[in-house]
Amino acid sequence: MSLPLRQSLQEICKICQLESELISQFVELEWIHPIDRDHLMFDEEDVARIKLIKDLKEVFEVNDEGVEIILHLVDQINYIQLKG
């Protein structure tokens, strides 16, 4: 089942199994850049990124500074791959 293009914060909380305050915090920290920041609407890339952050914090118990560094490195790897 594919996700609709944009979803609200409330819908994302259910999908990702996280509190809305936490996801809002991710936005404040600029760990995620919602497709529509003004209305807090999220697309499938945001969902996948939130799940990655959740894995880093809950499964790997990485602290906030570590999460930021890892996200940066992951973005860099994906960018390098994109550029070919």
Binding site: M1, S2, L3, K14, I15, C16, Q17, H33, I35, D43, E44, E45, V47, A48, R49, K51, L52, D55, V59, F60, E61, E65, E68, I69, H72, V74, D75, Q76, I77, N78, Y79, Q81, L82
Partner: protein, 291 residues
């Protein structure tokens, strides 16, 4: 139906902590964002994740153990990985260059502000100069001309009574700043040269006063060397080595004293006549010193 315990490699009696640790260990090597492009790892990660969802919490584990079917709480199961979402040009990857470019990422993380490369404003470094002074400079105060590491000449006023190791600060006389950065400060650290005749004891000075056996027995007015000259000290009759006398106001600073420590010295190589006279004296005036 697949067995989540088997997939995670734990026994049915494993604790929740053991289950979490097992999942974490597998996730490290299978997570698609930590192993980008590895399709096999991604497939296995989905299996392992699903297994962890089934027994990762006490509530879900109880349901599974009781034979209840696991219900996905959310649509799409595990969903796609972040890596997967970026393939073919995701927003986050495409915008990477715009977001960070050549800037120092770690500077942004750890609190540095964005700085234009044309502006480079730094405050100057502080400079330290170690200055040796004599005890007499400390007693009366002094002025010394020094040359700082930067080559600057500085007239330093040493206040009377200054302590060993004290730093005198000269604002803005250190290293030059860059751009609009303020210059650093110069620090002059005071070190007092050891003096062979006087020891510093806080605000007081200590000195040794050698006395002959005649002076030790009879006492009298004895000249005592001070830092800046000499004074006559009345030594009472019957002093011994180690006894202390105090000369007021002759220490460091106005309320410091000079502590005079008596040292009785017998003559070296006394003559036969001297020894004979002393033995005669002893028979008349002997006193106990060993109890």
């Amino acid at each position: 139906m697949s067995d989540p315990y088997q997939i995670l490699g734990v026994s049915k009696s494993a604790t929740q902590d053991e289950i979490k640790k097992a999942y974490r260990k597998l996730a490290k090597t299978l997570h698609p964002d930590l192993n980008p492009g590895n399709k096999e790892a991604e497939k296995k990660f989905k299996e392992v994740s699903h297994a962890f969802d089934q027994i990762g919490t006490p509530e879900e584990r109880k349901k599974f153990d009781q034979g209840e079917a696991f219900e996905q709480q959310h649509a799409g199961g595990g969903g796609q990985s972040f890596y997967g979402s970026q393939q073919g040009g995701g927003r986050y990857s495409s915008n990477f260059a715009d977001a960070f470019g050549d800037e120092d990422f770690f500077q942004n993380i750890f609190g540095g502000k964005r700085r234009s490369r044309d502006e480079f404003n730094f405050p100057g470094e502080d400079e330290l100069y170690k200055l040796e002074v004599d005890l007499i400079d400390v007693v009366h105060g002094a002025e010394k001309m020094i040359t700082l590491p930067s080559g600057k000449k500085l007239q330093v006023k040493i206040p009377a009574g200054i302590e060993e190791g004290k730093k005198l600060r000269f604002k803005g006389l250190g290293g030059a700043g860059m751009g609009t950065g303020v210059p650093g400060d110069a620090y002059v650290e005071i070190h007092i040269r050891p003096n062979e005749n006087f020891k510093i004891k806080g605000k007081d000075l200590e000195t040794e006063l050698p006395l002959s056996i005649f002076e030790a027995v009879a006492g009298g007015s004895i000249p005592v060397r001070t830092l800046d000259g000499q004074v006559s000290v009345t030594v009472p009759a019957g002093v011994s080595s180690g006894n202390k006398l105090r000369v007021k106001g002759k220490g460091l600073g106005p309320d410091g004293n000079l502590i005079v420590i008596i040292k009785v010295i017998a003559p070296k190589a006394p003559s036969e006549e001297f020894i004979h006279s002393m033995n005669e004296m002893k028979s008349k005036f002997n006193y106990e010193v060993r109890k």
